[in-house]
Every structure is written in C-alpha cells, then in structure tokens.
C-alpha cells in the first residue's frame, strides 16, 4: 500500500498544479481571443509554439486547449480510480468504466494534438520534417497509454468475472 500512497500523493500534487495551469491557460486564451496582446510572451501549448495569431491559429489553439483539458479530465478520472483502490474496491464497475473512458479520451487528445500541430507546422510554418529519433514522440506515447488503459479495463473486466465465479463456487 505504500506504493499506492506515493502514487496517490504524486497524482494529487499533479492535479493541484494542473488546476493552476488550467486557470492560467484560460486567462491566456481570453487574452489571445480578444487580441489584448501577448507582448513578448511565448505562446506554447503542448509543445506547439504559436507565433502567428490569426483566426486560423486561434481555432487551432482552441483545439489544443480542448485536448489539454481532456488530459486534465483523464487525470481527474485516474484520481477517482486511485480513491477506489485505496478503499480496496479494486474490481468496482466505476474502476472499469473509468479505465475505458481514460483510454478513449487519451487517444482523442493524442489525435487532436497531433493533427493540430501537424496542420500548424505544415500550413503556417511550411515545415515538413521526417525525423528518426531514439526517443518516443508524445503522440505515440499518448496513443499507447490510451490503448494500455483500454486493455487494462478489459483485463479488469475478466478479473472481475473470475472473482465472481470464484466467490460463487460452492
């Protein structure tokens, strides 16, 4: 249970800081959308540096913000799952549903970020790069994480069924 405590503490800390970043992001979005002016600030969402501010980039940044908020919502769902684990309700229906939901949402967020950043790079920066790196791209990692959560949900479903069968074996 010590590992669970450490994980819960870390996720809670991450949740606290992400709440601050959400508020900050919303303020920045208001500034961007109403053309109040960014000054010398770097406008960067999920690693995508926005340099030109027109209607197109505003729309793209809105999509990026939505994908960021989806990831934050996934963090919230994961917190709920950890609370259930803490109460030893490992095979609860909520845990299964949350794992599946986290999976779908992470994949959605990955595609939103990936497609948006690609459109921005190709259309606005006219830069098409084909790179071979030894590190994984955040897009692939996020998709893998999403699929992992979906597989985890299915495995938990099988485990729940086995547990019920074991309990109902006389």
């Amino acid at each position: 249970m010590r590992k669970l405590n450490i994980l819960k503490a870390l996720v809670d800390l991450l949740w606290f800081f992400s709440m601050i970043s959400v508020v900050a992001m919303l303020v920045i979005m208001v500034i961007v959308f109403f053309d109040i002016g960014l000054g010398d600030f770097d406008f960067n969402i999920n690693g995508v540096q926005i340099e030109i501010l027109d209607y197109g980039t505003k729309f793209l940044s809105l999509i990026l913000v939505v994908s960021y908020l989806i990831v934050i919502y996934c963090l919230y769902l994961f917190r709920v799952v950890l609370k259930y684990f803490y109460r030893l309700k490992v095979f609860d229906e909520v845990v299964l549903k949350n794992f599946n939901k986290i999976g779908y949402l992470l994949i959605t967020a990955a595609f939103l970020t990936g497609v948006t950043s690609t459109i921005y790079k190709v259309y606005y920066m006219s830069k098409v790069t084909v790179a071979f790196n030894f590190t994984f791209s955040p897009f692939v990692l996020l998709v893998c994480l999403g699929l992992f959560f979906m597989v985890l949900s299915e495995i938990f479903g099988i485990s729940k069924k086995l547990k019920e069968e074991n309990e109902l074996t006389i």
Binding site: E164, E165, L168, T169, I170
Partner: protein, 73 residues
Amino acid sequence: MPIIVNLDVMLATRKMRSKDLAEKIGITTANLSILKSGKAKAIRFSTLEAICKELDCQPSDILEYSSDKSKDI
C-alpha cells in the same frame, strides 16, 4: 442457466432442513442457499460428494440439465 439444482426437492423428500445439511457437509447456510437458488456458478466435486453421501443419492438426482428450448415453448 440450463443446469437446475434440485437440492430443495431432495431435502424435502428426506425431510431435512437446509441448516442441518449445511452443518453436516461443512458449508455455510448462505452458500447452501446460493446453491439451492441456482445462483452458484460452479460446484466442487468435494461438495457434491458430501451432499450425495449425506442425502444418499446420485449427482444426477441433484443436478439436472434443461435446454433453453423448453423455456421458449
């Protein structure tokens, strides 16, 4: 489930209470109730053996297969 447990019939014919059978075969009355109601997913051979020994019957007297077609009729 197409497997029907006729334990209540066997108990009635032998005029034995569920509580007594549960005590004799060494399972809880709650588990025996699950078995009687047909909610059980599986039965151990050891439990089946103990029930058959106590009620002096065959496994076929306790368990019965009924196809789903009979329900449709």
